[in-house]
């Protein structure tokens, strides 16, 4: 079944998967671009990036779970999942604190969507990966360290 899914996607790619997806309304580039928060995304440090997304001093929360590898297999594509158990979660942002531009993405959740996102981020070096959740006008945060190592020399 999974092999079938993979093959379907491969053939779709052959036919221009992105165009197909856009035509089908799965991706709305204009909508995404309209929400572009230039100041926050171009901020060079965590403090400014947090300010830029209106989260200057978020409260630490144990209801946010970050799933990411302890050591990244490939710093160019680090899988990160964030789950927010906070009622009324309306957006989730991800920051890689030591990246040149720490803010990786913000995800707006509407219409009672589940507080869950899954994506891949790029990391230049070992760093805290931070999630910032907006719920009911308040901001909450949690972080997990992801190590980026040179590799080799194992056992």
């Amino acid at each position: 079944m999974n092999a079938l899914r993979r093959n379907v996607l491969k053939s779709a790619a052959g036919a221009g998967a992105v165009a197909v997806a856009v035509a089908a309304g799965l991706l709305k580039p204009t909508q995404a671009m309209a929400a572009w928060n230039k100041a926050a995304f171009e901020a060079k440090n965590v403090g400014d990036a947090m300010k830029g997304i209106g989260a200057a001093s978020p409260a630490d929360s144990k209801d946010i779970t970050i799933k990411a590898p302890d050591i990244a297999e490939n710093g160019a594509v680090v899988p990160v999942e964030v789950t927010s158990g906070i009622a009324g979660t309306s957006s989730i942002a991800i920051l890689a604190e030591k990246n040149g531009q720490p803010l990786v993405g913000t995800f707006d959740l509407t219409g009672g969507a589940q507080g869950f996102i899954s994506t891949r981020i790029k990391m230049g070096q070992t760093s805290l990966v931070r999630a910032v959740v907006n719920a009911g006008g308040k901001t909450y945060t949690a972080a997990k360290e992801v190590k980026v190592t040179i590799g080799g020399c194992g056992g």
């Binding site: 999974n2 899914r5 993979r6 799933k67 590898p69 302890d70 050591i71 990244a72 297999e73 490939n74 899988p79 070992t126 190590k147 190592t149 040179i150 590799g151 080799g152 020399c153 194992g154 056992g155």
Partner: protein, 580 residues
């Protein structure tokens, strides 16, 4: 209690003179310690476990480390006990066969009395003996089985695959196996293993695209009417410690949550005994056992710790036993469970050293090994040099074999310094032994053997050393990769294992002069993990050096000054350098 060296040597001499040496026939006939392998069965469910044999089909020497430091919560705890500290912890008599198997103490003298260890023909005899007393017992292979010898490299792992089928392996999980490439692994699993009914299990290998399981996460078996599940845990950091491009579509990792899910699944389907066959390394296994519930035992490997008895780890719902079964074919773990009323009531565990002089070779396996080696014999047996020195690899910081490799690289390549990976495999040679091509390949047989010569700034050298030190000494086991410290030729340094990354390595110097951050140095190395690296294979570089030298004598072991571990740390003994 501790016998001094002179007493020990006298004891060995007396033993040899009175015909008690282990290679004598009388030992086999019933005199001590011929009852070594009389292992009465306990209970009704049994497993045998070997791991990290590193493709050694024939008996070898293998010296255990004299430096195996624990950090964080692991300081001074199993498996971070060496020499007399290990003997004391397990009540093993100094000078005994077990003491020789489990420690480095008086290695060369004891090796001559007790003989070589391992070898698949001898292991086969032991496996059959144990199995005869325990019908239905399962043989579990913890991985690092296909890599580590010339013949496994030259046969593309086929010699080991066929040997394991003949040995009677039932279940396996991988690490170095992946360095033959994903396609080759799949070919073996889907053809050879499928035909032989061997389960290849790994709950923590998933596809990079959709996160689908690549292999069966676990297999369910039945023994005497009791359902048992064996969950596979491959080496979590394969794409980091080894070349990622060899398994480009697979993601690994520890994946506790996935482990819990599959353990629960196995229990729900009626498993009364749940085993994890793991290549995590012992410190990672100990942490995993404290977090995941419902596992009766983790049979571990990777860190090559020969641990005589399991560590009992408490977690939220019970106790999990954690073992580690050494390396290079030296040991066979035998775990017996008494399972009644739907659960494990008690256990008995032994980690049996495989003394090849005490176990007659199985004729069929012996014939197979001879046949598979035949086309390569002349190449394998070429004597490159003779060693006057004792050559070994294991230990956190350096071994004489690695010193020889870095000396050869610096000499042949004209480098200021050299790096050699902190591998834990590789056999041992006694003073006076010939260094054959086969023994050189024991240290170097990998699928990415290229040597490199790179201009590096002092800063880059320090960054690399700090990075590797953190992979070994991070206080959190989940950040440890299970290798030893990179072997460093030409650079003297001080290390503080308990410090944080960036401040462990200090006082670096080359030829008595401090290493300068922005100065450029020529650094030789091998085993590059990046794709497309070019360079002469390491064995050719070292072979030419050895042929030229003819005799290896007076190697100067470059060991760092160690600070902050204490002079009474049971993870270090007989260290030649400075320790505080």
């Amino acid at each position: 209690m501790h016998m001094n060296r002179r007493e020990f040597l006298q004891l060995l001499a007396v033993a040899a003179a009175s015909g008690m040496a282990l290679d004598s026939k009388s030992a086999l006939a019933g005199n001590a310690p011929a009852n070594f392998y009389d292992v009465p069965r306990h209970g009704n469910v049994s497993f045998m476990h070997f791991t990290d044999c590193h493709a050694q089909l024939l008996p070898v020497w293998f010296r255990e480390p004299n430096v195996n430091l624990g950090v964080g919560d692991a300081v001074g705890k199993v498996p971070h006990l060496v020499g007399q500290h290990l003997l004391k912890a397990y009540g093993i008599k100094p000078g005994s066969a077990e003491a020789h198997a489990f420690t480095y103490l008086d290695f060369t003298e004891a090796a001559r009395v007790y003989g070589k260890v391992g070898g698949f023909a001898h292991l086969k005899t032991l496996v059959d003996k144990i199995r005869a007393q325990r019908p239905g017992a399962l043989l579990l292979d913890g991985g690092d089985t296909w890599q580590g010898s010339a013949t496994s490299l030259w046969t593309n792992a086929q010699d080991m695959v066929d040997a394991c089928i003949q040995l009677g392996v039932n279940v396996m999980t991988p690490h170095w196996e992946s360095t033959f490439g994903a396609e080759r692994v799949m070919e073996i699993v889907n053809k050879d293993f499928k035909k032989a009914n061997i389960d290849f299990v790994a709950q923590n290998i998933i596809t990079n695209d959709f996160g689908d399981q690549v292999f069966k996460p676990y297999t369910m078996k039945e023994m005497g009417g009791v359902k048992v599940a064996i969950v596979g845990q491959a080496f979590p950091y394969t794409p980091i410690a080894n070349p990622r491009h060899m398994v480009p579509d697979w993601s690994f990792g520890i994946r506790d949550d996935n482990m819990q899910k599959w353990v629960n699944d196995a229990r729900a389907k009626g498993a009364k005994v749940v085993i994890v066959l793991s290549h995590n390394g012992m410190d990672v296994d100990l942490k995993m056992a404290s977090r995941v519930t419902g596992i009766d035992a983790i049979f571990g490997g990777h860190t090559h710790d020969g641990v005589p008895q399991p560590v009992k780890v408490k977690n939220a719902k019970g106790i999990t036993l954690v073992t580690n079964a050494g390396s290079n074919g030296k040991f066979l773990g035998v775990m017996d469970f008494d399972v009644r009323g739907g659960k494990v009531q008690s256990y008995k565990y032994r980690l049996l050293p495989v003394f090849s002089n005490l176990l007659p070779a199985d004729a069929a396996m012996d014939a197979y090994i001879k046949k598979v080696r035949a086309p390569y014999e002349s190449k394998l047996s070429e004597t490159l040099a003779v060693t006057d020195d004792f050559l070994y690899r294991r230990g956190n910081f350096n071994g004489t074999w690695d010193q020889l490799l870095v000396d050869a690289m610096m000499d042949v390549k004209g480098a200021d310094a050299a790096f050699s990976p902190g591998f834990r495999w590789g056999t041992t040679l006694l003073p006076g032994d010939p260094i054959t091509m086969e023994r050189l390949m024991d240290q170097t047989a990998i699928t990415y053997p290229q040597t490199t010569l790179t201009n590096m700034s002092g800063e880059m050298i320090k960054t690399i050393m700090e990075d590797v030190a953190d992979n070994l000494f991070n206080a959190d086991p989940y950040y440890q990769q299970g290798g030893d410290m990179v072997r460093v030729g030409g650079i003297e340094y001080t290390i503080a294992p308990n410090a944080k990354i960036g401040s462990r390595i200090t006082s670096m110097s080359i030829k008595g002069k401090p290493v300068v951050a922005n100065k450029t140095y020529k650094v030789a190395g091998w085993a590059p993990v990046a794709e497309g690296a070019q360079g002469e294979p390491i064995w050719d570089v070292v072979a030419s050096y050895l042929r030229d030298k003819k005799v290896i004598k007076g190697l100067k072991l470059n060991e760092p000054k160690i600070v902050g571990v204490g002079t009474k740390n049971p993870g270090i003994s007989g260290y030649q350098g400075s320790v505080s």
